[in-house]
């Protein structure tokens, strides 16, 4: 991990109230590396009426992910927001805004969002994770990497990656308050 800080002084915004969602989700506080799908797969009987998922519910899943460089959540840095989430039929598109256009952590942030959603959402959802158009100097390269299923699969199989993800998170003081989460996270890798 290089010692370079891409954005030494980000603007931190106040996090909005609790859960945005009418349906309270316990996931928001849990670690990134949760193992169990948060919504159990609809079984055959209830399959006919798949519950619709809205922007706020997706937002609740990703707002508390920590930025790799700062002791702040993606919500506090305005990297993610509910209006940047687009939901289609069995499709979720999440747009995120890197804090600076040269942010070298964008791929890591995008991957964190993808992993969080893969492990939380029912498998029927296809995910598109993209940076906000015009917000990053290597927009196409970042988007391509985040949406290459083979690279993502290989990255998740590579023990070095989650470890480095943890490393950058551990380096933030804020996470120490979430040691319980950290223990869970370590268990999963």
């Amino acid at each position: 991990m290089s010692g370079e800080i891409f954005n030494p002084n980000p603007t931190v915004f106040r996090s909005s109230a609790k859960s945005h969602s009418s349906r309270s989700l316990s996931t928001a506080k849990k670690s990134l590396w949760i193992n169990e799908p948060e919504w159990s797969q609809p079984d055959q009987e209830t399959d006919e009426e798949e519950e619709a998922i809205d922007q706020d519910e997706i937002f609740d899943l990703i707002r508390n992910i920590y930025d790799p460089e700062h002791p702040n959540t993606l919500e506090e840095l305005h990297v993610v927001s509910a209006p940047q989430i687009d939901i289609g039929e069995n499709r979720v598109k999440v747009e995120f805004t890197p804090t600076v256009p040269h942010c070298g952590m964008s791929t890591l942030i995008g991957l964190s969002i993808r992993v969080r959603l893969i492990r939380s959402l029912p498998t029927r959802f296809k995910l598109d994770i993209v940076v906000k158009p015009g917000s990053h100097q290597s927009e196409n390269a970042v988007n391509k990497q985040l949406n290459d299923k083979e690279r993502v699969a290989a990255a998740l199989e590579n023990p070095a990656l989650p470890y480095s993800l943890l490393f950058v998170c551990v380096s933030t003081l804020r996470l120490i308050l979430n040691l319980v989460d950290l223990k869970d996270a370590i268990k999963t890798i």
Partner: protein, 357 residues
């Protein structure tokens, strides 16, 4: 369906057994054996035969744990059908042969050789038409060409470092020693051997707007089909020895196209100008089959193309990672697909317009 297509794709068998994403499949060219590989690091072998009523039945014949430390991304049979190669994210290529017991009966599948050399994930592996060469590719941006020697020995004949990004797939010409590779750098490269020197890149095909996931030569070797993340399949016509030109772009796929396969087809009418059938599949979960034929009435070198079958949600809501035609005589209408739902399945393409009328 609102479409009126002349052929239907119907499920022949659901082949379970894998415990994680099924990535790729390979039909044995010589006998009734289908190999399927998965993120669960195993290879499953299925046999198939017709029962008394003409129904094709598939049975799990063997499971090879492989010993690969990571995902087995792709599999390939040698033309003789006696050897199976596996490409793994653990950066190695495995070579598998079936042992013979004391009575000469086939026994367990054993690792005959392990080809090391790639630095990162191997993505694809392929035998040349004569079986004397093996090609492999990797995220390390290289393509390796191996000479197949007796007693499962392999000698590296060349390391081709032409691509600027991951190499996703390799495919040999059906008769000549020409290798094609597709990459994350959006290009396709073609390689040949210089008898006086080494293997070299003789052509670069540009046109795709994103990753090239899969390549398949036409059975007559005059065309190359490529599937891409740009949601298209492109057809490249060979106009000269190393001169390839894009002549058709097949559109309509709604997400990445992960796999393309070009088979001889089993057309309802005999047709000299037939180029066979192309099957494509990918992130939109739809299997599509196109009929291709040379255009007799035109001097243009653009072949005629017609979508003849379409099966949506072939793996439910899941991505389809591979689609492959059976190369064996009598089974030209048989397709195998593998998907993120952990399942490998086979599909039959059947002419049905007459039935409707």
């Amino acid at each position: 369906m609102d479409e009126d297509l002349p052929y239907t794709l119907s499920n022949v068998a659901q082949l379970g057994g894998h415990e994680d994403r099924a990535w790729h499949i390979a039909w044995n060219p010589a006998k009734s054996l289908l190999a399927s590989c998965s993120a669960d690091k195993s290879v499953k072998l299925f046999t198939y035969s017709h029962d008394g009523e003409g129904t094709l039945n598939f049975t799990l014949a063997a499971s090879i744990p492989t010993g690969h430390l990571k995902t087995v991304r792709s599999v390939a049979w040698s033309p003789s059908g006696r050897t199976l190669a596996t490409a793994s994210f653990d950066s190695n290529i495995g070579i598998w042969e079936q042992e013979l017991d004391d009575d000469g009966n086939p026994g367990e599948w054993e690792c005959a050789s392990l080809l090391e050399g790639h630095e990162t994930e191997c993505k694809s592996v392929a035998y040349s038409s004569t079986g004397t060469l093996l090609a492999s590719c990797s995220r390390d941006k290289t393509v390796w060409i191996w000479e197949v020697q007796p007693d499962s020995d392999f000698e590296c004949m060349g390391v081709l470092m032409e691509h600027t990004q991951d190499v996703k797939c390799v495919a040999w010409h059906p008769t000549e020693e020409i290798l094609a590779s597709g990459s994350y750098d959006d290009t396709i490269k073609l390689y040949v051997d210089d008898p006086q020197d080494d293997w070299f890149c003789c052509a670069t095909l540009t046109g795709h707007q994103s990753t090239v996931w899969s390549l398949s030569w036409s059975p007559n070797g005059k065309y190359l089909a490529s599937a891409s993340d740009d949601k298209t399949v492109r057809l490249w016509r060979r106009n000269g020895e190393y001169d390839f030109k894009c002549v058709l772009v097949l559109e309509g796929q709604e997400r990445s196209v992960y796999s393309v396969s070009w088979g001889v087809g089993k057309s309802s009418q005999e047709n000299d100008s037939s180029l066979g059938w192309i099957a494509s599949a990918g992130g939109d979960g739809v299997v599509r089959v196109w009929d291709l034929s040379e255009n007799p009435s035109s001097t243009a070198d653009v072949p005629l193309v017609k979508l003849i079958a379409r099966l949506p949600a072939a793996h439910g809501v899941f991505d389809i990672n591979s689609v492959v035609w059976c190369p064996r005589k009598g089974y030209e209408d048989l397709l195998a697909t593998s998907g993120d739902d952990v399942v490998t399945q086979t599909l039959q393409t059947t002419y049905q317009r007459r039935l409707r009328q």
